[in-house]
Structures are given as C-alpha cells and as structure tokens.
Symmetry: C2
Subunit: 199 residues, 2 copies
C-alpha cells in the first residue's frame, strides 16, 4: 500500500500529537495545508517558532508575556492587592472573559494529583509565599476548580496561606447559570443547598 | 478585558484558518503547544516549512512527491496501463487503503462546479489527454465520487476520453458495505437496484 511522501508523513505524525486531533483530523488539516497557497503554512511555522522563543511566563504572576511583565501586571488600573490564584495560564483568560475581576493573578502551574505523581512538594508554594511576602495582598481568591485535584490543592494551599495574614477565599460552588435543576448533578445540588443565600 | 500577548493572539488566528478548528479548539491547541516542552512546536514549524518547499505534485500523476515522480509512479510492480482518475491527492490514499487497485493514478485537481465558477475550461483535460497520448493506458477508471460535481465531471470526461481508444469505466454505485437497507438513502437504493448483479 502506498503512502504519503516522508515529509507529509512526519507532518501527520506531529499533528497527531496535538490534543483531540485523531488520524482523520490530522489528515484533513495536513491536506488543507498542502493545498492552500495563501501562506498559512509559512505563517503557522513562523508563529510556532516565535511562540517558542518570544512567549514566556510573566516574572511576577506566571501568565504569558512577551515583555518581562504580562499585560495584566502592567495595567495600572487593576487592584494589585486583590489576587486570584489559578492553575494554568488559560484559566486567567477564562476569568477575564467573565469581566468580573479587577485584581491580578498568580498562576500556580499545577494542581495536586497523587495519581499523576504530583504531591505537595511539587506545588510551587515557595514562589507564591515569596511574592506574598513582597506584595502583601489584601485578599487571595483560590480559583482552582471543583474537580478532586482542584479541591485538594485549594485545601492544601488554604492551610499554608492562612498564616500570611491575607484574607483567603475560594470561588462559590453552586448551580451553573442559565439552567434548570434538571441540568445539575446531585453533588452540585448539595453544594448549592449548603451555600444558599438569604434573599 | 486582558488578552494573550500578540504572538499568541496571531497564532490563535492562524490556527482558526484551519478547517473545522473553531475558537475553542484553536485555544486548546495553542495552550497545549505553549505548555509542551518536548519540541513539538519546533518540529511542527520545521515540517510546515518543509511541506511548503519540498512537497510538490508528481510530474506524471499529480500525487504528492518529494522526488520528481511519486512513490506510486516509481513502483515497478504496479500496472502502468491501468489508470484511476481521482479529484484530489487525498483520494489516491483513500483508494490505496482499500488495497483493491494495483494500477497508477491521475490526479485531476478539481471537479466541475458551476456554482463555484469551475466550468469545463477549468478542468485540466489537456494534461490528461497529453499523458494518454504518451502512455496509451488500457483502461481508465473514473473515481470522482457520486456528488453532483463528481458525476458531472465523470460525464464530461467520459465524452472526451471515449475518443482516446482506452476503455473508460467508473466506480460502481450501490449499497455501502456493512449496513442494512435502513442506512441507505433512496437515491443510493435506486442506483443499487439499477446496478443489480446476477448471482
């Protein structure tokens, strides 16, 4: 059985390393790229190269930056004493898109996950504590998600951060917006009941 | 609202130009690439660049090649007088994977599509006729698909190729393998009836 030439086969293999790209998607993408003549191939190649060299973690908060500090840390309007601790750089923009937070961030980089061999000693608490020591935030909101890893990490961080003197809080759990009770699982419902608010 | 740094934003935009990659998929791919440290970014960049410079159409049949002739045209075991005319390079491998054809190919490059402004004069019949003139194939199988464009192109090519003296045939239409009648639409069923074979 014949196959594509070597470069095309290697490109297919590299595409299949991307998340949720199976053999069929990889082939569709590669055939599109081989046929297109608008320079998308060359532009993608250049930007992938640039992403590897120009984009790095912000030295203060760990979000993506091309200068020393990221756009968020350089923004003079944001409240520098209200922090939000998130697990990954992508989470920063998820919160930004809600347009409900005007503080700054701290990207932890990982969550506790004993099954994947990530124990407490792998969580970079030293960096976070040193930054708290320097900047003395008023409040630190833990936004690590409600999966087992996120909750364990929040519990662990909460114990450590209590000693810093900052107020430590965590995102509310409850019903997601825009759906009836039929869309909520029983764990979410029990959180929503326990966290009920007076009207 | 904050956003990713410029290089990341441009990379997201380039990813979104790929087929069936929406904003969410693009973000998942780009965040994966920014986090990975195994060199996938650099390898993809290099291979995209190489695909643009090293991969070109086989001068004989139009399939992808890195040398002058593609792997299929260089294979001495294949029957050089049995041809299969397909619309795109991807179709060559679709037929190869069926392991049922041992001839060689001719990639037409496009199908008749009046709605997209592709009329008969846009179909590169000159190249095909010149190749037939040189190589005198015994049989030419048209494998252009059963959509309106494929059938129109086969009808048009059939008329032109009849004069060449080669036997001209077309892939059978009928029930797809592995399904009951309930999975076949009525047009497919009518083709299957018209093309019924004696047992």
């Amino acid at each position: 059985m014949a196959d594509y030439p070597p470069t095309v086969r290697e490109l297919l293999a590299a595409m299949r390393e991307l998340p949720s790209i199976g053999p069929r998607s990889a082939e569709r993408l590669v055939l599109f790229l081989l046929e297109e003549t608008k320079g998308t191939k060359e532009r993608l190649a250049r930007l992938l190269q640039a992403a590897g060299t120009r984009v790095h973690p912000c030295t203060r908060c760990g979000f993506y930056a091309e200068e020393e500090l990221c756009e968020l840390c350089r923004d003079p309007v944001r409240d520098p004493l209200l922090w939000c601790v998130v697990a990954s750089p992508g989470d920063v923009l998820r919160i930004e898109r809600a347009s409900a937070f005007r503080g700054i961030y701290h990207v932890l980089g990982r969550k506790l996950s004993p099954l994947d061999g990530v124990g407490p000693e792998e969580i970079p608490t030293g960096l976070l504590l040193a930054r708290i020591e320097r900047e003395h935030p008023r409040e630190i909101i833990l936004a690590l998600g409600t999966d087992a890893e996120g909750e364990a990490t929040a519990l662990y961080l909460g114990q450590i951060l209590k000693k810093t003197g900052s107020r430590i809080s965590s995102l509310a759990t409850g019903l997601p917006a825009g759906g009836g009770l039929e869309f909520a699982d029983s764990v979410t419902l029990s959180y929503a009941l326990a966290g009920r608010r007076e009207l």
